[in-house]
């Protein structure tokens, strides 16, 4: 009896550890080689100098970090934060009711609604964004339709509003899906109990439903915020490059300015902002 108790705890964790290793190793190897190594490379570039014709000269400098605090780059960073924050907020305001309603649908309709949410992902992102330029351009579909009823033409394209609209369109599904998962999981008996105890529909939502779905809200917000913040395709195609975001800035450092070290430093700044957000999200989710 006693020996059994002694041997089991020894052998079991070892077997588990081996199993974990076997199952994890492909993914782990992938991550280490294709994520950590490039990331380490990016970090190391931030302290070196730019080569005359691109590339990196391995001489130590802090200049890249000093440039980061140049008002020009700070304003681009703040602008990007603002655009991503507005997008996330609007996505939440639209996404929550949508997810809530889908969760109340009969099973058959639920599936259909979810497929409809995911449907845009079946077409390439660039093509969908490009289609917006056809819709919104001066002589485009929206303006020519408005002209038929005697309105317009309006300048719908190439401003910050269009950037937010484009980001919202692209990433709204990423808000709806985690919210749906959170709301769907909710035990309906909790709401019934709340109603039985005399709470109104709104009080139930505010005191029961909302607090319990906060993790979904946080996940969805993060899913929308992260790709919006670093986006460079939409500012270029829908914003007409007239206002740039941090993603454009980074892209330009590598593709036209040939300033890899500063591009790497900007990337580091972007990652730093996102890591802070992830920590906030994890902390808030634990409290919720």
């Amino acid at each position: 009896m006693k020996s059994e108790v002694k041997t089991q705890p020894v052998s079991r964790p070892r077997g588990r550890w081996l199993g974990a290793f076997v199952f994890l190793s492909p993914g782990l190897a992938y991550l280490v080689v294709l994520m950590l190594v490039p990331l380490a490379l990016v970090f190391s570039y931030t302290v070196f100098q730019r080569g005359r014709f691109g590339g990196v000269v391995y001489e130590f400098t802090t200049e890249n970090f000093e440039r980061l605090f140049d008002p020009l780059y700070l304003s681009v960073l703040l602008d990007s934060l603002k655009i991503a924050a507005i997008t996330t907020l609007v996505a939440l305001l639209i996404g929550y009711p949508t997810a809530y309603l889908i969760a109340q649908l009969p099973k058959k309709w639920k599936t259909l609604a979810l497929v409809a949410i995911v449907l845009p992902f079946w077409t390439n992102f660039i093509i969908r964004v490009y289609a917006w330029t056809i819709l919104l351009s001066g002589p485009g579909l929206v303006n020519s339709a408005l002209a038929k009823v005697g309105l317009g033409p309006y300048e719908l394209l190439y401003n910050q509003g269009t950037i937010v609209a484009g980001l919202l369109y692209s990433y709204l599904p990423l808000m709806v899906l985690p919210l749906y998962a959170a709301i769907e999981k909710l035990d309906p008996q909790l709401r019934e109990a709340s109603a039985n105890l005399g709470a109104s529909g709104f009080t139930t939502f505010r005191k029961v439903t909302l607090p319990l779905t906060v993790p979904g809200v946080l996940t969805g917000s993060l899913f929308v915020f992260v790709p919006s913040f670093g986006n460079f395709v939409i500012p270029e195609m829908l914003g007409g490059n007239k206002s740039i975001m941090v993603g454009n800035l980074i892209r330009n450092q590598f593709l036209s300015a040939r300033d890899w070290p500063f591009g790497a430093t900007l990337s580091l700044a972007l990652i730093a902002v996102l890591v802070v957000l992830l920590i906030v999200q994890a902390w808030a989710a634990r409290r919720a």
């Binding site: 730019r50 080569g51 005359r52 014709f53 691109g54 590339g55 990196v56 020009l72 304003s75 681009v76 602008d79 330029t133 351009s137 001066g138 002589p139 300048e155 394209l157 190439y158 007409g240 490059n241 007239k242 206002s243 740039i244 454009n248 800035l249 330009n252 593709l255 036209s256 300015a257 040939r258 300033d259």
Partner: protein, 373 residues
Amino acid sequence: MSRTRFTRRLPAAAAAAGLALAVAACGGGSSSSSADQAPAAADQLKPNADLSQQSLQITVWDGYTPKELPQKAMEKLKIKNVQIQLHDTNEVAMTKLTAPGDSGIDVAFVSGQYAQALNEQGLLEPIHHELIPNLANLYPEATQLSYDKGNKYSVPYTWGTTGICYRSDLVKSEPKSWNDLLKPPAWADKKVTMLATERWLALPALKSLGYSINTDKDEELEKAKELLMAQKPHLLRYDDTTFGDRLVSGEAVMAEAWDGWCPTTDPKGNIKFAVPKEGSDLWVDTMVIMKSSKNKEAAHALINYILSPEIHSWAAENINYKVPNKAAMEQVKIAKGSLLGTTPAELLNGEAAIDLGQASTKYTRLQQDVTAS
């Protein structure tokens, strides 16, 4: 074909910006060693070498030379074997050419500044003019290009410039000056696009102010910036890639454009191209022979063959770029609406961009100041 040109031109454009030269990035170490092995003096080449003992590896942009070129070169020149490799950008070509060890490439197609960079690294074989009699077919102007006067190490293949691409049916008057773009008249307000890539963003402003496109003077760049900032509210957008579509749809009426990208062959025939009177730039794509080649006689024979009117006119007719070959251009049937009618004198009016080294960061800054404002 237009797609090929599309993918090709942007990187070549970045080259002409003088940003150029991945050399330092890709092969600093290797290039210095090959410079040691390669004294400035040219190899002794035998004019009557047996080409059937030599094989060629060529690296070139996709669709940039006739498909049957290898076959024809093998038949006509009796070269043992001719293989084509493709690169989509100058940078990719440079990576291949500057990698440590023998790249195995004999002939490469790269833009002018890249040829200059390869030569500075000692990687190019000087051109043996006596082996390329067809050099006589080139326009005299094409032998005096600023990055390589006298075609010492490169032979020009195509050339072109930047100007204003416009809708002749939608403009009230034909654009003649960069100021038509920089200060658009009321009928063109918000119907104008500009190239956003650094050196080209600055080009119209610099030229309209009478400065060099290679300036590194802060006060000149400051004045150019003021002009560009004042222009910004009157722009439709900054556009390096879709200005052709914007013109076709009529959203834009004038666009700063690279000549090969201006859709002058649009079937409606109302899109035209003009080089403003203040002048513009000049880009050149060239052929070079690698120092490491062991088949230099065949390489010279091939370049000589490409410079024959029969082959060189193919480029003008099929990729719609001008070629610096007088004999070839005289053979070309100039398509209606095509740009090929521009004379070399008009082209040479253009200033060749040179690499600015550290000063190129000033153009980066200018671009960021203008676009982020």
